[in-house]
């Protein structure tokens, strides 16, 4: 091997190693996995929410200059993918939002820290009763960051244009009749509603009115085959009568609001969705109201969903108090609320909500109105989805695909759904 070739080879190698070193130094940053003492905070949403929270975190740091925050943002899907990996690696952020199907799954994995008696966690805005309602199985290990309930949302511009009004009292039957009438020979070709049986919260409301629970206290599926079938039947009647957009029209069992929002009068949604959804159609005005209910609906069927967040059980001692301070800020800060708004739901802190109200946008006022209306109702307890049930919405959607393609009858699909969910729960 001559000197020339050895030199060229070494040059080649040297160049490689140097580039590598340079790259890694450039990409390096001191905050590994929060190892420099910053509190890691993880949330999801769109780019608006990302910016809003970044500003809010700046406000937090202004109030608590000794605490540094390391933000970890992702959109909903990305957040879950990252979270799953972090969970497996036991590298979870200090304070993190909990996706609704995962609440009890994460609990079973021991991801939550017990929050009882943690110094720096300010729960003074909540009554003892409320705090009790936050508990899961007796432990206070998660807190609600926002609350919402299912509602019926409607396009008032369409109502005016088509010269109709919604009846004051809505039952499932009267609503169905109304929607079928509306869609029949509508001059603009508008439909009554989107095809929406995949929607989890209205489904739960329907079940509760029949006296069933979606999830029981002992971690099972509370819906009966009859209950599921009745729910789907209600939708199938509408679809067959042409009162809903077709699955093809709405491009899937789960429609995209921006695609079909301009074609329907009514839609079922969560009380906070109006804030973002209305912006997709700035030319229309929307309003919302409580779910339909028959006079013989079971008592206490209303419910408020808690969207939760928690502190990771593996947070080192020196970061517990700063993390608790961050959680308190999320729960109590008027500044955060004014930056973030109600797009993710109403704050569980009602005093804070009252304080915010005068500055709320018109759509947010509608959220507040319906939140208050539902808060004043009697609500029997509801329970979170058990571990293993995480993909129940996908199972429902698959059955709905078969039904709408005419390949399965509703009773068969309902019982297939129930068995599939039950076996997934059993397998967990």
């Amino acid at each position: 091997m001559s000197d020339l070739t050895r030199r060229s080879f070494l040059t080649w190698t040297g160049a490689g190693v140097l580039s590598l070193a340079a790259m890694s130094l450039v990409g390096c940053s001191p905050s590994g996995s929060g190892s420099n003492g910053s509190v890691r905070f993880a949330w999801w949403g769109g780019s608006d929410r990302q910016r809003a929270y970044l500003k809010a975190l700046d406000a937090f740091t202004a109030e608590h200059p000794e605490i540094k925050v390391a933000p970890e943002f992702g959109d909903y899907d990305a957040y879950q993918e990252r979270m799953t990996t972090q969970m497996a690696a036991r590298d979870v952020p200090d304070v993190f939002w909990i996706p609704s199907p995962a609440v009890l799954t994460y609990r079973g994995a021991g991801l939550y820290r017990d929050l009882d008696g943690i110094e720096g966690l300010d729960l003074s805005a909540f009554s003892a009763e409320q705090i009790e309602s936050f508990r899961l199985g007796g432990t206070l290990d998660t807190l609600p960051k926002s609350v919402f309930s299912p509602v019926v949302r409607y396009n008032t511009t369409f109502l005016d244009e088509d010269g109709v009004t919604l009846p004051d009292e809505l039952t499932w039957d009267s609503l169905a009749e109304f929607l079928v009438d509306y869609a029949k020979d509508n001059p603009e070709g508008r439909k009554g509603t989107t095809y929406g049986p995949y929607h989890d919260m209205p489904f739960e409301s329907f079940l509760r009115q029949r006296g069933e629970d979606l999830w029981t206290e002992d971690g099972r599926l509370g819906a009966t085959v009859d209950g599921v079938a009745a729910w789907i039947d209600w939708w199938e009647k509408l679809r067959k009568a042409g009162a809903t957009t077709t699955v093809s029209e709405q491009d899937g069992i789960e429609p995209s609001w921006s695609q079909v929002g301009g074609k329907v009068l009514v839609t079922f949604a969560n009380s906070n969705h109006i804030v973002d959804d209305a912006q997709a159609f700035p030319d229309y005005v929307f309003d919302q109201r409580d779910m339909p209910a028959a006079p013989d609906a079971a008592a206490g069927h209303h419910f408020t969903y808690y969207s939760r967040f928690a502190m990771y059980s593996g947070v080192p001692e020196d970061r517990i108090q700063p993390a608790a301070a961050l959680m308190s800020f999320n729960l109590n800060s008027p500044e955060l609320l004014s930056l973030v708004g109600l797009s993710a739901g109403a704050p569980p802190n009602t005093a804070l909500l009252d304080q915010y109200e005068p500055d709320a946008t018109p759509d947010e006022q509608k959220v507040i109105a319906v939140t208050r209306e539902i808060a004043a109702t009697e609500q029997r307890a509801r329970f979170e989805a058990p571990a293993g049930s995480g993909s129940w919405r996908e199972l429902m959607i698959r059955e709905l695909e078969e039904i709408t393609l005419g390949q399965k009858s509703v009773p068969d699909a309902a019982s297939a759904f129930v068995s599939a969910v039950e076996s997934e729960i059993a397998g967990a």
Binding site: G16, D77, Q80, E81, T84, M87, A88, T105, Y106, G108, A109, G110, L111, T246, V247, S248, E249, D251, G252, E254, G390, S391, E394, I397, R398, E401, E402, L405, Q407, E424, A428
Partner: protein
């Protein structure tokens, strides 16, 4: 001596690849829900696979996809590469235009684009409407949804096309000149010089595209919204692995499925290698 050249590869193999490779092989024999330590369950995952309806659906969908889209894609790629190889004005523009779709192939934007084109009122139905054919959204029809993904794969033929172009460039001009002196026409030159000397590259593209098609994930994930629907008609094998592992937290089963895929791909590749002795001509033999 060779081992000096192989040093980076060895470090990479041992340090970065081997560990996870072995870990996933071990996990295939366990029940692992990502939250608690894996538990050994022997061959249960494989037994479960055999009886899993959705597993077989995924196998069917993936096989159809591989057998249909790979030849189509390579056919277009080779055809365009030969056409664009020489003697045309605006060559680099055409080449870039044909490569453009490959740049977008795996992006978020594709989902929306594809839905618009194949949706109920999209371009495809519009054009079909001229011929009196009325169809609904292709993506909601179990018999048509997979074809949209095949079209997507064929649409991104730019990558193999570039490889063919590079291969065509490597064929020495003297061979063409010599044959023309002997009086060979264009077609004769194509079949006697171009194709034989291109066979290592054709083989390369075939293997790469086949492996890539077996493992196709992003397209199905993004166009079907992650569901593999409607009715599992776009449930690519790796999409099902992803669902089982990342959505259902069933990582043991997902690992088992991944290794079954590896064995199938290895078998298909080995078969191709064996058959390749018949038709691939290497310059170094």
């Amino acid at each position: 001596m060779a081992h000096i050249f192989l040093l980076p590869w060895m470090i990479g193999m041992i340090g970065v690849t081997a560990g996870p490779l072995v870990a996933s092989a071990v996990l295939a024999f366990t029940d692992y829900d990502l939250l608690s330590p894996p538990q050994f369950i022997g061959l249960d995952n494989f037994v479960r696979m055999a009886g899993d309806e959705r597993f077989w659906a995924a196998v069917r969908v993936t096989l159809v996809y591989v057998l249909v889209s790979v030849p189509l894609q390579l056919g277009f790629a080779l055809f365009l590469a030969v056409v664009l190889d020489k003697g045309l004005r605006g060559l680099s523009l055409y080449r870039s235009a044909f490569y453009l779709p490959s740049l977008l192939g795996g992006s978020v934007a594709i989902a929306i684009l594809w839905r618009q084109i194949f949706g109920e009122e999209g371009l495809v139905n519009h054009v079909l409407g001229w011929f009196g054919v009325e169809l609904g959204s292709w993506l909601q029809d179990p018999s048509l949804a997979l074809s949209t993904l095949v079209v997507l794969n064929v649409w991104t033929f730019g990558s193999p096309m570039v490889i063919f172009l590079a291969g065509l460039r490597q064929i020495p001009e003297e061979l063409y000149e010599a044959s023309m002196i002997d009086g060979a026409g264009r077609v004769r030159r194509f079949w006697s010089i171009t194709i034989p000397l291109l066979t290592p590259i054709i083989f390369l593209n075939l293997i790469l595209q086949m492996i890539s098609a077996f493992q196709a994930f992003t397209q199905a994930h993004v166009v079907s919204g992650g569901s593999g629907g409607p009715l599992d008609s776009t449930l690519f094998y790796t999409l099902y692995i992803y669902q089982r592992g990342f959505v259902n937290f069933d990582m043991g089963y997902a690992s088992a499925m991944a290794w079954v895929l590896l064995l199938v791909i290895a078998a298909a590749t080995a078969a191709n290698f064996i058959v390749s002795r018949r038709w691939v001509y290497y310059g170094d033999e």
